[in-house]
C-alpha cells in the first residue's frame, strides 16, 4: 500500500475511533498498535490529537485514557443529564438475555466468554460487561488451554442479592441433561481436562 503520510494518519485515526467505539473495555495502546499495524507511540500521539479534536469541537463525549487503555466516555459536563436519565429509568431489571447469561454462569462456572457465547448463540460481550460492572460476576481464573481464556464465575454480591450462602445453594438441576449443543459448546472451547475441572470444584 502506497499511502501518503496524511492518508496513513487518517486511516489510523479512523481505525482507532472504530476500535475504541465498539470495545466493551478500555483498549491499551499496545492492542491498538497491533490491530492497526503500527507502534504504540504513534497510537498515543493520534489518540491525544483525537481527544483534543473532540474537546475543540465541544462534543458531548471524550476519548480518555482510563485503567490502562483508551475509551469513549460521556463528557463530565453532562453528568447531570446522564444522572437524571439513569434515575428516571426506575423499574430497571435485568433483561431476559442478561438473566439467562447470569444463570448460565451461575450453574456452569467457571466458564469462558466463548463458551457462554456458544450456548447463547450470540455475542455476549455487552451483557457480560453489564453483569461484571454490577458486580454480579467476575473473572475467577484462566483456562489452562493454549488460549488461556478468562473464566467467569458469580460473586459474593450475587449470592447476597439472592439471599443464598453460595452459588452451590441454587435450586439443584436434578437429573437434567443439557442438550447436545450445550455439551458441545462446553467441551469444544474448554481445553482443560474435564477430570481436572471436576476436581477443582
Amino acid at each position: 500500500m502506497d499511502l501518503t503520510d496524511e492518508q496513513q494518519l487518517a486511516h489510523l485515526s479512523r481505525g482507532i475511533e472504530a476500535l475504541v467505539m465498539v470495545s466493551a473495555d478500555p483498549i491499551p495502546d499496545a492492542e491498538l498498535a497491533q490491530a492497526l499495524g503500527t507502534d504504540e507511540v504513534t497510537i498515543r500521539t493520534i489518540c491525544v490529537a483525537l481527544s483534543d479534536s473532540y474537546e475543540d469541537q465541544d462534543r458531548g463525549f471524550q476519548l480518555a485514557y482510563i485503567a490502562g487503555g483508551w475509551r469513549f466516555q460521556s463528557h463530565p459536563d453532562l453528568s447531570e443529564v446522564i444522572t437524571g436519565h439513569v434515575l428516571e429509568g426506575q423499574n430497571q431489571k435485568l433483561t431476559p438475555a442478561a438473566m439467562e447469561t447470569l444463570a448460565i454462569i451461575a450453574y456452569k462456572q467457571p466458564i469462558s466468554r466463548a463458551q457462554i457465547g456458544a450456548i447463547r448463540g450470540v455475542n455476549v460481550d455487552g451483557v457480560l460487561r453489564t453483569l461484571s460492572q454490577r458486580g454480579y460476576v467476575s473473572e475467577i481464573g484462566r483456562d489452562e488451554g493454549p488460549g488461556q481464556a478468562v473464566l467467569f464465575g458469580t460473586t459474593q454480591l450475587f449470592c447476597e442479592k439472592l439471599g443464598i450462602p453460595s452459588a452451590k445453594d441454587l435450586p439443584p438441576l436434578g437429573d437434567f441433561v443439557p442438550p447436545a449443543h450445550v455439551v458441545e459448546a462446553l467441551e469444544q472451547t474448554l481445553r482443560a481436562d474435564p477430570a481436572d475441572y471436576v476436581a477443582s470444584e
Binding site: 466493551a24 438473566m99 442479592k161 443464598i164
Partner: protein, 258 residues
C-alpha cells in the same frame, strides 16, 4: 429428514427448482420431464417424515393429473366440472409457486442486508462506572428460583406451544372427508336424521361437529334441505340435488384450502 438433506425443504421448493433450474432453458422445460423428475425425488423420500411425504405427494398428484390431461387427445369428452377443478388446482399450484419464489428472493435480499449490516459493530460499553451506583439494583426481587428458571430457559429450546392449530387443521381435512361421506350416503337414502347420519361416530364430539359442518356446507350449496320440527328436536337432512350436483359438490371441495 431426507427431503432436507437433498436441499429441498418443501414441495414448492423442489418443483420450483425443477422448473427454474438454470440448467435448462426456461422455454424448453417440458411438463413430462418435470413430473418424472418430481416423482423420482418423491420416491427417494421413501423413509421420510409422513407429513412431509404427504405434502410432496399432493403436489405429485396434481402434476400427474396435469400430465394425463395433456396426453389425452383433444376431442375426448371430459367432464367440464373436472376440467375446471383441474384448472383451479393448477392455478393454485402456480400461485403457490410464485409465492414461494417471491419469498425465496426476499430471503436472499434479507441475507444480503444482514451481510452488509455485519460490517459494522455497535457500541456496547454502556454506562460509565461513575453512574452505575445510581442505577437501581438489577437483581432486586429476584430469587434463586428465577435463576433456575432462566437457566432452564437458556438450555432448552423454547417450548413450542401449539394451541389448537393441529385440530383446526384436522377439522379442515375431515370436513372434506365428511362431505364425501355424505355424498356417498345421502342421494340414495331418502331423508335421514342427523342423528342417524352420525350414529357411527356418536362418541366422538369432534367427528360429529365435522359432519355437521359438512351438512351445512351442502346446505349452502343448495343440494340438501334441512328440517327441524321442534326446538332441540332431530334435524332431518334430505338430498334435493341431481347427480350432476353430486359431482360438482365433490370436485368443489378444495383440497389445498389455499
Amino acid at each position: 429428514m431426507r427431503a432436507e438433506a437433498a436441499g429441498f425443504e418443501g414441495p414448492f421448493d423442489l418443483l420450483l427448482h425443477l422448473i427454474l433450474s438454470d440448467k435448462v432453458d426456461l422455454y424448453e422445460v417440458s411438463l413430462f420431464e418435470i413430473v418424472d423428475a418430481y416423482l423420482a425425488e418423491v420416491r427417494k423420500m421413501a423413509d421420510c417424515d409422513l407429513d412431509v411425504a404427504t405434502e410432496f405427494l399432493l403436489i405429485a398428484a396434481t402434476l400427474i393429473e396435469l400430465k394425463v390431461r395433456r396426453l389425452l387427445p383433444e376431442d375426448v369428452d371430459i367432464d367440464l366440472d373436472e376440467e375446471f377443478a383441474l384448472w383451479e388446482e393448477r392455478d393454485l399450484l402456480l400461485a403457490r409457486l410464485l409465492e414461494s419464489k417471491t419469498f425465496k428472493d426476499a430471503a436472499a435480499a434479507i441475507g444480503r442486508m444482514s451481510e452488509t449490516a455485519a460490517r459494522v459493530r455497535p457500541r456496547i460499553a454502556g454506562l460509565d462506572e461513575q453512574f452505575l451506583g445510581l442505577a437501581p439494583d438489577l437483581l432486586e426481587n429476584s430469587t434463586p428460583n428465577d435463576l433456575h428458571r432462566a437457566f432452564m430457559k437458556a438450555m432448552q429450546p423454547k417450548p413450542v406451544t401449539n394451541v389448537g392449530l393441529q385440530h383446526v387443521t384436522a377439522v379442515k381435512a375431515s370436513v372434506t372427508e365428511a362431505i364425501h361421506e355424505m355424498l356417498d350416503r345421502l342421494p340414495d337414502s331418502g331423508p335421514r336424521t342427523f342423528r342417524q347420519l352420525t350414529q357411527h361416530v356418536a362418541n366422538d364430539t369432534l367427528e360429529v361437529v365435522v359432519r355437521f359442518l359438512a351438512v351445512l356446507e351442502l346446505f349452502k350449496q343448495g343440494v340438501v334441505e334441512l328440517d327441524q320440527s321442534d326446538r332441540f328436536g332431530d334435524l332431518t337432512v334430505e338430498w334435493v340435488g341431481s347427480e350432476d350436483d353430486r359431482q360438482a359438490a365433490l370436485t368443489g371441495v378444495d383440497v389445498y384450502e389455499g
